[in-house]
Symmetry: C2
Subunit: 252 residues, 2 copies
DNA sequence: CCGACGACATTGTGATCACAACTAAGTCGA
DNA sequence: TCGACTTAGTTGTGATCACAATGTCGTCGG
């Protein structure tokens, strides 16, 4: 082709953000007929929980739609849903972004986790087949440990999430589960940042104590293990804070 | 126009539900430029919290849009946001309705309230101007008492909500507040049903104890007053349950 | 060298449309 | 009389469009 001079060559480079999301599969799960919007929502939820999207990064309707291979329409509704859970931040100018974290917000998120999750675990315990559950959780926790050993932050985030929610989901609570999910949604992007900074090397979890408590059918011990696991995360944050508190001050 | 005979006379009467929502005002608050969607959301949130919409009642895009005088578009996003908070129920066929309440769900909602709200109150206390806040809350509580005396359920719901959130909002927590709001959203429609059945006559609240605790700057006493206030509601439910447990069994 | 202006691309918003799935009222037949 | 069938209406879904607000980059004037 001849490089024509008349045509308006795109001087402005399309500063399109790097696609952090995979395109939508044609039919994710076999039989379930899920709409496009739900698939978009699911993709976004996972990306947030795993921390695949950086805090502060803008999220645009058309950009996401293009990445996922649909029209902006389903993306709009998905984003609106996530925004209602505060998992996405609607700026005053209408633009949408992954929320930036503040020190206060984070401390409150962990406080909320420490309130809600032990209760959900206690609700779940009597509904679990103890032996089977302990075995299943042990497998997940092995994967968590492996990710920690490899320093694979994303895998760690995913497996840690799987471990906790394998317990909470057993509660069958359609009140506590959504509340906890909503908190994790806000927790993920930031936690990923922290791990990226201080690493996952010094990370100690209380998963084994939780598994033991489930095997014993000891609700109090289970709640306490969960509580400690969350408190541990809180300590790690403190380390990250002294390491570099700069990013926290950034206005949203 | 001549009443033509050829035109298909609408034999089928448009079984449009009675409009439970007021039309949108042109500009709700003076200066704030809110989009149509936000106004729709706000209208729905209030209707749900006050309990103006019955559990189980279908909520349709076009129906709402017509009631509110807009296109279905903003309604779609508003509904999607509420659905994300579980304030609206998306049935498997895609239809949307106010969730029906189950006994388990209600007990969990109250348990979540009892966990979250005392903490939010404790967070709020140090940020309050005690004397001014106590005075302000006293005024609201007087309105609550008046509504109880009059047996005006809707006014009671509104004032009770105002009382609680006047406290919680002072916490300035953008973590606890949304969580608590989301719970109230689910709590409202059902509570209204209960009050409609057993009346508000026997209702005892712990608002005065809360006001006193705020005046004293006693965080523990404030938390306890809130906790008791919620527990009281739980007791009322139990009465309603023995009165007529039929509606609870209805499948969603 | 730097700040203000102006043009243009991008963004969210609201409206409208076509469509498929579903509901329910009306109708016909056993 | 009661059932299945037909048909029209309703509903949510996804796409597309026009538009106003906003942001961004390039240019020009100091």
């Amino acid at each position: 082709m001849t490089t024509n001079g008349a045509a308006p060559t795109p001087l402005r480079r399309p500063r399109r953000q790097a696609p952090a999301l995979p395109a939508l599969e044609a039919h994710p799960e076999g039989a379930v007929r899920t709409g496009v919007r739900d698939r978009v929502t699911e993709a976004l939820r996972e990306a947030l929980i795993i921390g695949r999207i950086q805090p502060g990064r803008p999220v645009t309707l058309r950009g996401l739609a293009e990445q996922l291979g649909t029209s902006p329409m389903p993306v709009r509704e998905a984003i609106r849903g996530l925004a209602a859970e505060r998992a996405l931040d609607v700026r005053e100018n209408g633009r949408i972004a992954v929320p930036r974290m503040t020190e206060q917000r984070l401390s409150e998120i962990l406080k909320a986790r420490a309130l809600l999750e032990p209760v959900a675990a206690a609700l779940a315990l009597p509904r679990l087949d103890r032996k089977a559950a302990a075995r299943r959780l042990q497998v997940i926790d092995d994967a968590v440990d492996a990710s920690l050993k490899d320093g694979d932050v994303e895998a760690y985030m995913r497996h840690n999430h799987a471990f906790h929610f394998a317990i909470y989901e057993a509660s069958g609570s359609d009140v506590f589960l959504p509340l906890i999910e909503s908190v994790w949604l806000r927790f993920g992007p930031f936690m990923r940042m922290v791990y990226g900074r201080v690493g996952t090397a010094g990370l100690v979890d209380h998963h084994k104590a939780a598994v033991a408590a489930i095997a014993d059918g000891n609700a109090d011990a289970l709640s306490e293990a969960i509580r400690l696991d969350i408190a541990e995360g809180m300590d790690l944050i403190r380390d990250a804070l002294v390491a570099g508190a700069a990013d926290f001050a950034d206005p949203g």
